[in-house]
Subunit: 530 residues, 2 copies
């Protein structure tokens, strides 16, 4: 085994980082990339060693470092940033951008400057798009390594396994490191559901489909198992490329356990839009078996009410189901786990063993970026003596179909259970066909409006007519995800809540998604539906 | 002259409104569309008559009506909503969406599923896109008429000139209406600059180019006079279609009088991106003459430093210069005006004549939607006895190039004049080539990042390192305009300002524009540049 490279004190320009990461990805045996301060620069013991340099470990490290502490982050991959830029959020966004652009190419086929994609070219290559991502992946990784080293002055060891000896001792790159605290942040990995045949060729998940030796053929027909975010996002992409896709889901689409506060108007708009694009969505069913010899040919599934069995044919079977935290690796510490293998932590992110913290996808709760980063920062704060609790009960959420689908707060159904005077504001309004309503409209759907396609999306707000507080907001269209971060913050942080009157007071950048203007049209008197 | 139609009490489905509006647009002599309550339904005198049913008049009317008042809005066009959906914001957004999609088609030419637009098709038709907008325009107008009538219960007379007899008396549709207050809201119209030759065929502005008898040829080469929003937005569209475009501007691009708080990093990013797309941008020049016989062939212009004269050739000359309020029509009222013809109002929107209010583009200040709507609402509040002042000094702003360009608060240059410890956070960071940095990235630029194009945009925040308050935010990319509405609100309304620490506390919906995460990476200690 190579002893790797020591890059401490050597400036590596951003442009050189991408090729370097790619080199180590191709040949992991090159050994560790060591960026550790020598004693003459920093001889303090480590306040914390972060095992795992994904969102949680990297952000926690940066924060601890900025607080004046000394940190070390160790990752088995040759880059910081974790699964997000490598196999999760970033490729998902590449595929979702492709889905959106291909959807545009289909809807706009032979109109204006657009070629007749729908009837002439018909398909895009999933493999080509996947390979395009793979070829550029190192450059994205390089940004994290560069930023962490040159701008945030973090110490790290990459491309190295960390072996936890005890809660104050970690071995990596052939060296022993001592620390006051340990932060565990190596995340989760997809686990196949217990269905016969999941090991057949052609059965993939979001991570394995990135491997050229796993998905080594252009799929023609896809069956997806699952009805949550991953199922919708990857399914919408496959369908948009021209790979006919069927979704098999136990619950209704978006009614899986992982998704909270899903409004029925929004849910139905998303499902209908997917069906309009030719997707088959079959709910109330469970998978029985993956069919085929060495290569999968379809999924046998069972109606959960009648028990009847059917077959959905496909040459690619995509498992959009669960992930499991990688907590086994820390058995030596004797941590308390939940039944799914999550590490149990208190509100300071400390585990059952004092001085050992866990964060990100290793702990219960949403597997989302904000939670990973904020839990890492919370651990860092507490380690540095600033008592901080982090509760991630309520948060905005989103997914991609060929649209952005975003929501925060309560669904209309939830609001009606808690409030007696619920008012909704909607576009299109009730009783109006979407084809007849040119709104809501913003960049990305101007031409859908021009062509009267009824593909402009849905806007909805749920308000308490008495207190005038915004209870929930839903949107399906484009360019809105960023906005919901701040709408959610306003709803959670404005003293007394964020009211329809305050929303009406926002200086809108027109054309926009319509919340400020629609609320302004309504706040003159008692609130009524619009 | 026809006596028009009386639609009071008759339900007109949304789907029927579009064709109806189009019919009246084709033949204005069909007379007024009258939606006025008969005495047996409402015999109260009008609390206010709104002359002009654009953003200001329609929103003011809706608000006054909801407050329990009686309103009438009169508009010369057969629809409510004003110039925005007819010739301003909506076509601008259609053209800007086309610019963005055409830019995508060019940058992605022959990559992945995309045709070789840049080398094979090469051009899109400006006329075809314009005509597509014109054909669907009625449907957009229909939404406003439907919503105002069926959902907001407003009284209105459309397709009718209002004649102000005195401040309590208006004639329209052959009838006399009495009111307690008058609200003037008929906006502004583009005025040609005093250059010889502006009346030649081929010389257009944003409004006139929508007329098939004005722009009746496919332009091949365009010269734009002006360097502000309109010049950039329409110029970027023309260039994206393949019509080679030159901008002639006195000041630098975006340094025109109408634009405040323009950060130099942002400005330069926008200008450079336009030049990368082949646009010619010539500043420090003034137009001397529009050349040609009956049809324009170019613009003679003069360098403002050297006095040297040059010619820019073009078959379409686009005037991206000033507008003038239509205040002449109200001479009978003897209102006080400023030197540019704006009606002078106090902070309640009342003019120099008590009981007469003015709003929207008739008064000084930004010609923006939020100001039109909020000034109309302010007039309504005050008329209904609720004393309200409206100050529109500070607001977020944006424009389209082939990107969304958005900003709020102070530029870095302004911040450094007022604060001694200014910190900036930027992507790409200083000293890094944009081609080498895969960030910032979000939907719409994933493939630009994959292909290493350096077209992912710019993110910048300007922070007071002492108070940790966010002073200014800038962004060039996609999907961010909506977010800035709420970021601006947070910066203006959070008690004590909105700090980097609060921004770091936002639950981001990843991938996003990066403010929450970048601030979180930095807030652990004293703020430093990133």
């Amino acid at each position: 085994m190579s002893t790797g490279i020591d890059i401490w004190g050597k400036f590596i320009p951003l442009a050189e980082w991408g090729p370097l990461v790619d080199e180590y990805l191709r040949d992991p045996a090159k050994g560790p990339i060591i960026n550790v301060a020598p004693p003459e620069v920093d001889d303090r013991p480590y306040d914390a060693i972060f095992i795992g340099g994904g969102a949680a470990g990297r952000f926690g490290s940066a924060f601890l470092k900025a607080r004046g502490g000394r940190q070390l982050v160790i990752d088995k991959w040759p880059f910081l940033g974790g699964s997000c830029p490598h196999e999760a959020c970033v490729p998902h966004h590449v595929f979702s951008e492709a889905a959106r652009m291909l959807d545009y190419a289909r809807l706009m086929s032979n109109r204006y400057w657009c070629e007749d994609f729908e009837n002439v070219k018909k398909r895009a290559s999933i493999l080509e798009i996947r390979d395009g991502f793979l070829q550029s992946r190192g450059a994205g990784h390089g940004v994290m390594n560069f930023q962490s080293k040159e701008q945030l002055n973090m110490e790290y060891i990459l491309n190295a396994e960390a072996r936890v000896i005890d809660k104050n001792t970690v071995e990596a790159a052939g060296r022993i490191f001592k620390c006051r605290n340990l932060v565990l942040a190596i995340g989760a990995r997809p686990t196949p559901p217990p269905i016969p045949g999941v090991d057949k060729h052609g059965v993939v998940n979001f991570a394995s489909m990135l491997h050229p030796d796993v998905l080594d053929f252009e799929p023609n027909r896809c069956v997806i198992v699952g009805g949550g975010k991953t199922a919708i996002e990857y399914g919408s992409f496959f369908q948009a490329t021209g790979c006919q896709t069927t979704i098999l889901t136990r619950s209704q689409l978006m009614r899986t356990k992982g998704l909270k506060h899903v409004d029925e108007d929004m849910r139905r708009w998303v499902e209908d839009a997917m069906k309009r694009r030719g997707m088959e969505i079959i709910d109330n069913v469970e998978p029985v078996e993956i069919l085929g010899n060495s290569h999968a040919t379809g999924v046998r599934y069972r109606n959960m009410t009648t028990g009847e069995e059917f077959t959905a044919e496909g040459d690619m079977i995509f498992l959009g189901t669960g992930e499991r935290p990688l907590s086994d690796q820390f058995d030596v510490l004797g941590l308390e786990l939940d039944e799914k293998g999550h590490i149990i932590v208190d509100a300071t992110m400390q585990t059952s063993v004092p001085g050992v913290y866990a964060c990100g996808d290793m702990i219960p709760g949403p597997r989302e970026m904000f939670k990973a980063r904020k839990s890492g920062v919370t651990a860092a704060r507490n380690i540095m003596g600033e008592y901080t609790e982090y509760v991630y009960e309520e948060f905005p959420d989103f997914l991609h179909s060929t649209y952005e689908v975003v929501w925060t707060g309560l669904s209309e159904e939830e609001a009606r259970q808690q409030y007696s005077n619920v008012v909704t504001i909607k576009l299109p309004p009730d009783g109006v066909r979407r084809e007849d309503c040119a709104l809501p409209v913003g960049d990305g759907s101007m031409f859908f409006a021009l062509e009267g396609m009824g593909e402009n999306g849905l806007l909805k707000s749920v308000i308490d007519g008495d207190s005038r507080k915004i209870l929930g907001l839903q949107f399906v269209a484009f360019g809105v995800r960023n906005a919901f971060q701040y709408l959610d913050y306003l709803m959670q942080k404005m003293p007394g809540g964020f009211t329809a009157d305050q929303l009406a007071d926002v200086n809108e950048l027109f054309l926009n998604e319509g919340y400020p203007q629609l609320h302004r049209l309504r706040v003159g008197g008692p609130l009524r539906d619009l």
